[in-house]
């Protein structure tokens, strides 16, 4: 039977190719951490990692993900062992209602990998990519927060980046 790998578990596909990755994760796998906001790729609440890269799960057919690895917020950490980014969101008050938070955290985790790989953004000048508040704001623009916790989210991402870089000097501001 065809299936999609979500957080290391095999989730069977149904017979309807219209099922999105988002619906598969929430309704079939019962992983309701990933949220449905706009369902049209505009808000980022459904952000998950596909082979390590962040994507909008609402704009992908589940059947397209056969043979690929999906990581949701549940795959990053749990109540007993929080992911460093989850811990940082708690410490820096990076949310209010929490609806966008799983998407924000998946996005932020991927963001640090993108920086590590040297992928540029609209605010990156020529030369090496370094993390700054401007970079974080630009790179997180696909995740809306209607409560407006953006500044604290930025601080949380910077804090994890600093922690990762400790011993190699702090991230440039």
């Amino acid at each position: 039977m065809s299936a999609v790998n979500v957080n290391g578990q095999s989730v069977p596909l149904d017979d309807d190719p219209r099922t999105t990755l988002l619906d598969l994760v929430r309704d079939h796998a019962g992983l309701t951490g990933t949220k449905k906001g706009c369902d049209h790729g505009q808000c980022g609440a459904c952000t998950v990692l596909l082979d390590g890269r962040r994507v909008n799960a609402c704009l992908i057919l589940a059947i397209q993900c056969e043979g690929h690895e999906i990581t949701t917020i549940e795959g990053l950490g749990n109540e007993k062992q929080l992911h460093p980014m989850q811990q940082a969101f708690l410490e820096h008050d990076g949310f209010q209602c929490g609806y966008c938070t799983p998407g924000q955290i998946c996005s932020a985790v991927a963001l640090l990998e993108e920086i590590r790989r040297g992928e540029p953004s609209d605010v990156t000048g020529p030369g090496q990519v370094t993390l700054s508040r401007e970079e974080i704001k630009e790179r997180m623009s696909g995740n809306l927060c209607r409560c407006g916790a953006y500044d604290h989210i930025t601080e949380a991402v910077l804090a994890v980046s600093d922690k990762n870089a400790s011993g190699q000097g702090r991230a440039e501001r």
Partner: protein, 332 residues
């Protein structure tokens, strides 16, 4: 979403006569899946092409770069060769959408994305692009984001891509494979069409045609700039954008290629501005005359009148910026 038959193919040879029926090729899906949810796109068959081997960026003869149709916007914008030799393309890509979308969106799909005209998306309102002959709601409606050049009384929608605007200024070529398996190459400028009496046709492609690659000609001499004006500083379509390749020698314009985005049904190659600039002194006066030449036939429809002066000023500013480094070199 209307039910459809899903097929996954591994080679382009699997595309055949049966795909002449209402079919959509699905790659990243960032626009197509959305349109299918709105039931604006209602294909009988969806052919998943995302596993075709078209995801490579390869050096080609004559210092050209061949970009496979399935190369993602992220991969293309991050490619060291593109960043170094065709930075205009990297800037344009990075100014569009979000990381999540660019991670999925492909080179071929970006070119074929549909307009974001409000009425094209609003299935309760007439739209000639959705249903030919129904009428255009934008002509007398909310048309702030609409076209000022090359529109018709049938449609005033704009093409939303930033990437395509950069490709137009870079003289890129598009490789297309037809249902019979024959390949043809066309200049990017000939891919998209103006609405005229058939706004339902965004491009010259016919059923079963598949874009397989985009080729960048050898890196152009001079400076490359992409300037995008939008309602918010990230994650917004262009109100107006300007792509410029400008070579200034001894204070004179030796070579210039200009394309405008957000102003027409297709990436708008500004041939009149180019002709007005070539061989002229690279001065503010020349830039203004060039912009005015291009925008002389521009027409607003009410809410989008502001785009005419905005396009003029953005074009002048982008040329000025592109000319600055060269003028400094000349003065040394």
């Amino acid at each position: 979403m209307k039910p459809f038959d899903y097929q996954r193919i591994r080679t382009v040879a699997e595309i055949g006569a049966r795909h002449a029926a209402p079919t959509r090729f699905l790659a990243g899906g960032t626009n197509l899946i959305d349109l299918m949810k709105h039931e604006i796109e209602t294909p009988d068959q969806v052919v998943d092409i995302s596993r075709l081997e078209l995801a490579a960026i390869e050096d080609a003869a004559g210092d050209e770069l061949r970009v496979g149709a399935l190369v993602t916007n992220t991969a293309l914008a991050s490619d060291e060769r593109v960043r170094k030799h065709w930075p205009l393309l990297s800037y344009a890509l990075l100014s569009g959408a979000t990381v999540q979308l660019r991670n999925r969106a492909t080179t071929g799909g970006n070119l074929l994305q549909r307009t974001r005209c409000y009425y094209f998306y609003d299935t309760a309102r007439p739209c000639n692009k959705r249903h030919p002959g129904e009428g255009c709601s934008a002509l007398e409606g909310q048309n702030r984001i609409h076209a000022i050049l090359g529109a018709s009384d049938q449609c005033i929608a704009t093409h939303p891509s930033d990437m395509a605007v950069a490709l137009a200024a870079l003289d890129a070529r598009v490789t297309v494979r037809n249902l019979e398996g024959e390949e043809r190459e066309l200049p990017i400028e000939s891919l998209h069409r103006l609405p005229e009496d058939h706004p339902e046709q965004d491009t010259v492609l016919t059923p079963g045609d598949l874009i397989t690659a985009v080729t960048l000609p050898a890196p152009p001499a001079g400076e490359q700039r992409y300037r995008k004006v939008r309602d918010r500083s990230s994650y917004a379509f262009a109100l107006v954008s300007v792509a410029v390749v400008l070579e200034v020698r001894g204070g004179e314009v030796e070579n210039v290629r200009i394309a405008l985005g957000g102003v027409a049904h297709k990436p708008w190659r500004a041939r009149k501005a180019e002709a007005a600039l070539l061989g002229k002194a690279a001065t503010e006066d020349s830039f203004r005359e060039a912009a005015e030449a291009e925008l002389a036939p521009a027409r607003g429809y009410g809410h989008n009148e502001f785009k005419i002066p905005l396009a003029r000023r953005t074009l002048i500013a982008t040329l000025r910026d592109a000319a600055a480094p060269s003028s400094e070199e000349t003065s040394l």
